[in-house]
């Protein structure tokens, strides 16, 4: 590999005199660290991961503890940020209570705790959503690209058809389908087990499946394109000549060589998965209440944005921060792993 690149590219001298024995990953890591925005993104994600893992310790209260007398209670500093929220003692309508760091929602639940627990949902979707789409997309793309011919044709037409479907509508339809059919009461069946598992996780399993099954097409196209070119290379032919079986060639010869672009492509789509989850929770097909999701919090909060703007704005900021973090980190990762993409020419 290295010799091939050296003959075609010029910076041979540069490499040999400046960077001795620096591995590809080491160099990428260096490039990534130099990208300030990506580092900030990485730190935000790290903080989110910590918040998600230690949510039971960090959150001041349990996310589902309602306290009706305290509904819409707000600490004083929040009313100063949002000048339209006049406290009761100044002739307004807002109940002041310092018990809640950023306020309580309309059921008297602590918003900060709900936002902290909300990281769990967003992060799980961010990491498992791409996994589902990689598994499906990789399988379809590898089979289509490797076998070619009629198989390729059929699979790619299927991808075309899926593309013509409006993704969000398909997700809504599938989520409704899953939510109602997996509520089946007979124990022992697969759908019952899935339904129970879903209930245990607050409705998250079905979100992963729903999002993953509707966003694998791009991955399949990418993988197919890569496999098409790699299956003709000499080392694959050599492996075939040595008698390697088809699954062996696919998994140990082709897969490692297409992993790089795959990871970059998936990292860049993570924010899309996060916003899908937020959207699903917004329309009430996402996580089951009272599991907190930023999407459902924004949905609830935007209903009384005129009187209690903090109830929508704070979860919106949380959602923005994580989207921002993944976008900048993904962008930095792409630049670091694949410097050609920067268009240095």
């Amino acid at each position: 590999m290295a010799t091939m690149e050296q003959t075609s590219n010029t910076p041979v001298i540069q490499i040999s005199e400046k960077k001795k024995g620096e591995s590809l990953w080491g160099e990428s890591w260096k490039r990534l660290r130099r990208n300030r925005a990506a580092v900030i993104g990485g730190i935000i994600i790290l903080l989110n991961i910590i918040a998600a893992i230690f949510a039971p310790v960090l959150a001041p209260q349990k996310f589902d503890r309602t306290n009706l007398p305290d509904n819409n209670a707000t600490p004083a500093w929040v009313t100063q940020i949002f000048p339209n929220m006049k406290p009761k003692d100044q002739g307004g309508y807002v109940t002041i209570s310092e018990k809640y760091p950023i306020g309580a929602d309309n059921l008297g639940r602590d918003m900060l705790s709900r936002i902290i627990y909300g990281t769990q949902v967003s992060l799980l979707v961010a990491f498992i959503g791409p996994l589902v789409s990689i598994i499906v997309g990789l399988t379809v793309g590898m089979i289509a690209g490797y076998f070619g011919g009629a198989t390729d044709n059929v699979l790619m037409r299927l991808v075309d058809l899926m593309y013509a479907f409006p993704t969000l509508l398909l997700i809504i339809l599938m989520m409704t389908f899953f939510r109602t059919s997996f509520a089946s009461p007979e124990p022992g069946t697969i759908s019952y087990t899935l339904g129970q598992l879903d209930k245990e996780t607050g409705g998250m399993i079905l979100i992963f499946i729903g999002i993953g099954l509707t966003s694998w097409m791009q991955m399949a196209r990418l993988v197919r394109g890569q496999v098409l070119s790699i299956r003709e290379t000499e080392y694959v032919q050599a492996a075939r000549a040595l008698g390697a079986t088809t699954p062996k060639i696919m998994i140990s010869h082709i897969l490692p060589n297409i992993l790089g672009p795959l990871i970059v492509a998936e990292t860049l789509t993570i924010p899309t998965y996060i916003s899908y989850e937020a959207f699903l929770s917004f329309i009430g097909l996402g996580v089951n209440p009272p599991t907190p999701s930023w999407g459902s919090m924004i949905s609830e909060g935007s209903k009384n944005i005129s009187s209690y703007p903090n109830q929508a704005i704070f979860p919106a900021i949380a959602l923005f921060l994580i989207m921002f973090a993944f976008n900048f980190l993904g962008d930095g990762l792409r630049d670091a792993l694949d410097p050609r993409m920067r268009g240095r020419d």
């Binding site: 925005a37 949002f82 000048p83 339209n84 075309d160 058809l161 013509a164 479907f165 409006p166 969000l168 509508l169 809504i172 339809l173 599938m174 409704t176 389908f177 109602t180 059919s181 924010p271 916003s275 937020a278 959207f279 917004f282 329309i283 009430g284 097909l285 999407g295 924004i298 949905s299 909060g301 935007s302 944005i305 005129s306 703007p309 929508a312 704005i313 919106a316 959602l319 923005f320 989207m323 921002f324 976008n327 900048f328 962008d331 268009g343 020419d345």
Partner: protein, 339 residues
């Protein structure tokens, strides 16, 4: 080209047919029916309702009669009475030689189960134009902000303008509508009180939703424009154009810009389809009576004709815009030929 378009139109019919079959099967396999209420309706009532809406027929018959109502044109004579069951999208009066007050009627998308007096075509007529206006405004905003930003960043590449422009764009991508909408609403509606918090009907109430929708897409378009313009600027024919002494302005506008539009046009196509057929989040947050909510309420309420209607409408828009996009390619880049 003509042959290509015909082939694409045939493919379009096939795709619409497949989508209608898949949607029909998928929606009918979802448990629960349109008349399942929390307070149970009497058995006999449900049976009557099912009979009225042809829901007691075998599935294949329901499908063929639904598609037949849309595809097969009919001719009626005499005055047309408003009737939810016979509401056609197209009504063309025929000349007198065909009979007395003969009207050719086409595309009946069926009734809505939730309202006895409204049909799916009523939704198309009343709610679609609202979404269409909003989507068009959002698209114009997205293009008006995104393209100049991308062009500027590409031309002033690796300068402070580029970093600022692309930083803004990357921020913009992190601002989905679900975030921008409440923030805009609070800032301009509640705090500054210069725009209505929600509602629809005048220009002022259109500004915020169009901005919220346009902003995130402007960011996507800016990044694409920059990347594609940068790539084009490195091409041989740009060097040739410069070498033969053309002014830089002409090189950029006539030679580079036109070709760099291809990837932009590729995303604008589906974006147009998505925006003009309605977007649930924006329409919900700003209380806009557009198509958006029917995408969600029809599915959760098992309103079968509305589900089919909205999905077919969206798919139709998507396929037609994709076809237009492909035709635009040939105009933008003469190297592209469809034979």
């Amino acid at each position: 080209m003509g042959q290509y378009i015909v082939r694409r139109l045939l493919w379009m019919v096939l795709v619409l047919f497949l989508i209608s079959v898949v949607t029909f099967l998928l929606m009918r396999s979802v448990p629960g029916g349109p008349f399942a209420r929390e307070k149970r309706l009497p058995e006999a009532t449900v049976a009557l309702l099912n009979k009225k809406y042809n829901l007691d027929a075998p599935l294949w018959q329901q499908y063929t009669s639904y598609i037949g109502d849309i595809v097969i044109p009919t001719v009626t004579y005499g005055k047309i009475k408003p009737n939810a069951a016979e509401n056609y999208l197209l009504n063309v009066p025929l000349p007198a030689m065909f009979g007395d007050e003969a009207v050719l009627r086409w595309a009946n998308f069926g009734p809505t189960f939730k309202s006895r007096s409204r049909s799916v075509n009523d939704i198309f007529r009343e709610n679609l134009p609202i979404s269409f206006q909003l989507g068009l405004a959002a698209l114009i905003i997205a293009l008006a902000i995104g393209m100049p930003l991308g062009i500027l960043s590409a031309l002033k590449r690796n300068t402070i303008y580029d970093y600022l422009g692309m930083g803004t764009a990357l921020m913009g991508v992190s601002f989905p509508v679900i975030i921008t909408a409440p923030i805009l609403q609070y800032f301009f509606g509640v705090q500054l009180k210069i725009l209505p918090v929600s509602g629809w009907g005048d220009i002022q109430s259109m500004i915020m939703p169009a901005l919220a929708l346009g902003f995130v897409n402007a960011a996507i378009i800016a990044r694409l424009t920059r990347a594609s313009l940068l790539q084009i600027l490195g091409e041989d024919y740009i060097r040739t154009a410069r070498a033969k002494g053309l002014p830089e302005r002409v090189v950029i506008i006539i030679h580079a810009l036109k070709n760099s539009l291809i990837p932009v046009v590729t995303v604008v196509g589906p974006l147009f389809a998505a925006l003009v057929t309605g977007t649930f989040v924006v329409e919900t947050i700003f209380g806009i009576p557009g198509m958006g909510r029917f995408f969600v309420t029809s599915i959760t309420g098992r309103d079968y004709p509305v589900i089919m209607g909205t999905i077919l409408l969206y798919a139709f828009f998507l396929i037609v815009t994709n076809l237009l996009v492909d035709i635009t390619y040939a105009w933008l880049d003469p190297r592209i030929r469809y034979d």
